[in-house]
Amino acid sequence: MGEPGAVWAVAVLPPVVAGLALGAAGWDSVLAARDAGRGRALRAAADPLREAARLLLRPPRTVAAADRLLLRAGVVLLPAVALLAAMVVPLGNAMVMDPAVGVVWFNAVEVAVWAAVWLVGWGSNSAFGLVGGYRFLAQGLAYELPHMFALTTVGLGAQSLRVGEIVQAQQGLWFVVWMPVAFAVYLLSVLAMAFWGPLAHPVADDAAGGAAVELSGPDRLFFLAGRYALLAVAAAFAVPLFLGGGAGPLLPAWAWSLVKTAVVLGGLVWAGRRFPVVRMDRFAEAAWTVLIPAVLVQMLVVGIAVL
C-alpha cells in the first residue's frame, strides 16, 4: 500500500493540516453567524483569518508570576501533536510514514494533549486556567479508555496495527458498517480530545474560558489553531480507520480522502454547535458505565467474526 516516506508527503503535510484546520474554523464561523441571524453568513468564513491577524498584532498580556516556560511548552505542544499525529494519516495512498504500529503511534502522540492543556492551565497562574487544566485530565480519564478500545477494535478487525493494512482490510466492506459502535465512540473521543463542542468543558464559559482564559496574542492563536488542527487530524484519521481510506469511484484516492475528511470534520464542527456542554463528571460516568461496556461488546463481536 502506498508510498510512505515520500519526500513530497512531508512537504504537503503542514499545508494540508493547516488548510483543514482553517476550513474547520471557517465553517464554525459560518455556523455561528447563521445562528446569530447575521445576513450572508457565508461571508463569515473569512473571520478566522481576521481573528488570526488580530491576535498576531495584539501585544500579549501577561499575568504576574506566570510560568512562561511551561505555558509556552503547552501552547506549542498542541499544534505539534496535530502534526505528529498526521504523519500516520494517509492522504489517498501517500503518508509520511507507515510504521507497523501506526495506530499506537497516533494514540501515543494524541495523549500529549493531556500535557498541553494542563501545562497551559497551570502555566497561566490563574485559578480558572488551573480549573480548566484539571477538567481536561478528568475528561481524559473518561474518554481515553473507550478511545483505546475503539482503536483496538479496528486493529482486531484488520489483524494489524499498520494503517496501510487497515485500509487494505476494508476493500470489501468498510469498518464503519460492521463496527458502528466503535466508529461512534471514536468520533465522541475526537470531540473529547480536541475539547470541542459538548466536551469543551475544559475551556467552557462557566470557568471564564477555562484553560485558555489568560492566553492572548500569538499564544492564543497557536492554542486555538492547534485545537482546530487536532480536530481536523483526528477527523481525518477516522477515514483510514472506518471509511475505507481513499477508496471510491471516479475521483483519485487523495481526493476521496479529502472529501471523506471534510464530511467527518464538518459533521463534528456542526455537532459542536448543536449540543450543549456536558460537565466532565457526567461524561465520565457515561463513559465508564455506557461507552466502555458498549465498545467491549463491539470488540467481542468483531473478535468472534474475525475468528
Binding site: W114, A115, L119, Y134
Partner: protein
C-alpha cells in the same frame, strides 16, 4: 547515526532526572521526569521495539499527568504555587543515591552478559503478543487481576461518595444526590 541518537537520548534522560531535583516547582519537576521517561521510550524505539517504546511514551504521559495532580496536592506548601525543593536531608540523600548509583553501575559493568543466541524476531510486536498470550499467559492474567483489584479497592476505600450515597440505600433514587445538581 544510531549511536549518536542513543547517547543524545541517554544524556537527555539523565539530564531530565537531574532537573527533577534542581527546579523549584513541582510542575516543572513532574515534566522534567516526564522528559526523562520520554527519552527512555525513544531508546526502546531505537533498539527496534516500536510497540513497547510507544507504549512507554503513552503510559508515561498519562501517568505523569495524573501524578502531577497528586504531587501538587500532597506537596508541603499550600497549593503548590510557591517555590519548593525536592531535596531534603541533603547529605544523607546524596550518600544514598551515590551508593545506589555505584551499585547499579557496578552491576551493569561486572555482570557477565550472555552472548546473543538466535536472531531477533522479525516482528517484535507479534513476538511480544505471543509471549504474553502464550507461555506468560498465567502471569499476565494474575498480575492483571491483581492490579484491577488494587485499583477498585483503593477507589472504594478512598471515595467519600459511592453509589449508595448517590442513589440511596436501596439504589432506587432516580436522580443521584450529586453536589453539582444540573438538569436530570
Amino acid at each position: 547515526m544510531g549511536v549518536v541518537v542513543f547517547w543524545v537520548l541517554a544524556a537527555g534522560a539523565v539530564a531530565g532526572g537531574i532537573a527533577v531535583f534542581a527546579v523549584d516547582s513541582m510542575a516543572r519537576a513532574t515534566f522534567a521526569l516526564l522528559l526523562s521517561f520520554l527519552c527512555v521510550g525513544a531508546e526502546l524505539l531505537l533498539i527496534g521495539l516500536p510497540y513497547l517504546g510507544l507504549l512507554v511514551v503513552l503510559m508515561m504521559i498519562m501517568e505523569m499527568l495524573i501524578m502531577a495532580v497528586f504531587m501538587v496536592m500532597y506537596m508541603m506548601n499550600p497549593a503548590g504555587l510557591m517555590p519548593m525543593t525536592m531535596v531534603h536531608n541533603r547529605r544523607g540523600s546524596a550518600a544514598v543515591s551515590a551508593a545506589v548509583f555505584a551499585a547499579l553501575a557496578a552491576g551493569a559493568l561486572l555482570t557477565p552478559w550472555p552472548e546473543r543466541r538466535g536472531v531477533p524476531a522479525h516482528d517484535t510486536t507479534f513476538a511480544l503478543g505471543e509471549a504474553v498470550m502464550g507461555p506468560k499467559m498465567a502471569v499476565m492474567m494474575l498480575v492483571g487481576v491483581a492490579i484491577l483489584a488494587t485499583m477498585i479497592t483503593s477507589v472504594v476505600l478512598a471515595t467519600g461518595r459511592g453509589r449508595y450515597d448517590r442513589h440511596g440505600d436501596r439504589l432506587d433514587a432516580r436522580r443521584p444526590a450529586d453536589p453539582g445538581r444540573g438538569a436530570p
